[in-house]
Amino acid sequence: MKEKLETGGKVDVDFAGKQYVFEKVNPFFLKVSSDVGERLISIEGTVEIRVDTVFFEHPYFYKWKTPIQASPKTTLKFILKLPIQRKLVVEAGKRDIVIDSFHEGAKKAWYGPVSAGALCDFVVPEVLFEPEEGEFANMLVRVVNPSTVSREISRFVVDPKRLMLFQAENGFFTNKIYVNIVREGEFSMDYGKGTTKAAKKAKKIVKEQLKSTKHVLTKFSPLNAVRDFGFGD
């Protein structure tokens, strides 16, 4: 969605169930009205109102209630639902002003020891069988078990800074994510450079923000009880 607004112009926008009215009252001010109230923004010239699709600010923490078993020397391939955020943005020249943002699911999770870790957005993994369009992206996950014994996977963390977002005719898609099982409770993550062929006429809309190391070790303490009770790291 993209709307241009010139002096004297007015546009109604429905964003996340809220009604916004943008009015360019004179060459210098834009009036934004909603149920919450009114605000005046000092912007000169023509403005553009658009909705951006972006990743969450924190890493995504995926956790299955029942762990998934990965057979020896196999790669499990599936598509997971990746919630994405929408931002209502006013653009004037080189300036971007975020008017509102919306993302579903406010639950957070902590990754790492309680004394030193990172705040993440919690996501219950939901496997998709067909690419879909919606308020989420199709995250292409490959779980690699290189060992000769069966291993299980219950959780992993995806860094949005290493994700790319592609807009295709049949929905949003990310780059491929490789979850390599190192040992029990320990994974390394690799982030691919491309998306799937299933994405029809894919156009990259969010570039990865980190170009350096793409191989990241993810480790969950096997002594969960100790950590959960707060007795140790």
């Binding site: 902590w110 870790g117 993440c120």
Partner: protein, 271 residues
Amino acid sequence: MVDLSALSGNLALLENVFKALVILVLGYGLSKLAGSITQRAVGSKVNQHVGQISRKIVSYVIVAVALVTALDLFIEVSTLIAAAGIAGIAIGMAAQRSVSNIISGLFLLADQPFEVGDAVDVGGNAGVVLDISLFSTRLRTFDNKYLRIPNDSVANAKIINFSYYAIRRLDISVGVAYKSDVGSAVDVLQDVIEGSSSVLAEPEPLVLVSGFGDSSIDMVARVWVQTSDIFTARTELIMSIKLALEEAGIEIPFPYRTLTFDEGELERLKK
């Protein structure tokens, strides 16, 4: 008749005054420059507060060196230092507490038990740290009072830093009546926790049945929340738990005693 020796003496004095002024001005300028470079370098590597202290120390040292160099043009500084040594002992005796505060301040800066902006409890005084200087630490208490604590007291006090870790464990204790179904009560608590957006999904929340109380079966909900959310999370959880238990028909009992009197005693009380 012009006294040449007096004139040359005056000229030498004027020259020394000029030199001293130049040294002082240069020293002052250099102290500002070196101080600001030090602040930037230390501030970016450690933190802004240590950067500010380092700037002051570097500036004072340079100004002191400039002052001594300028004084050296007029008097024998070694004699002055010797005299200052004796005076220093006297001043030192008087300023023992101040020196102790400075040394404690330096220890605090090195140890960093807290930073400016942290919520702390220093020896029973709780508040937000406003400033850590060489002599004292200043707090704004939670009921909005200004509190200045000498650094030697801070260094020797028990310090609790509430802001040190980003997440904290929150324990909510609740008791249910003995006649209640404990399993259902645990389920109710788990549902409330799961539905709360303040509670972190990981580390996993726990509901423990902790013991037989005087009037209730005691339970504890152990959850992890963001430190910044701890007060709102506690209020929200207590309210939600009470409501959910009421809706499920589970009684939260309060202590009560049944007093039994024998007939004779009852009659006596009635009279």
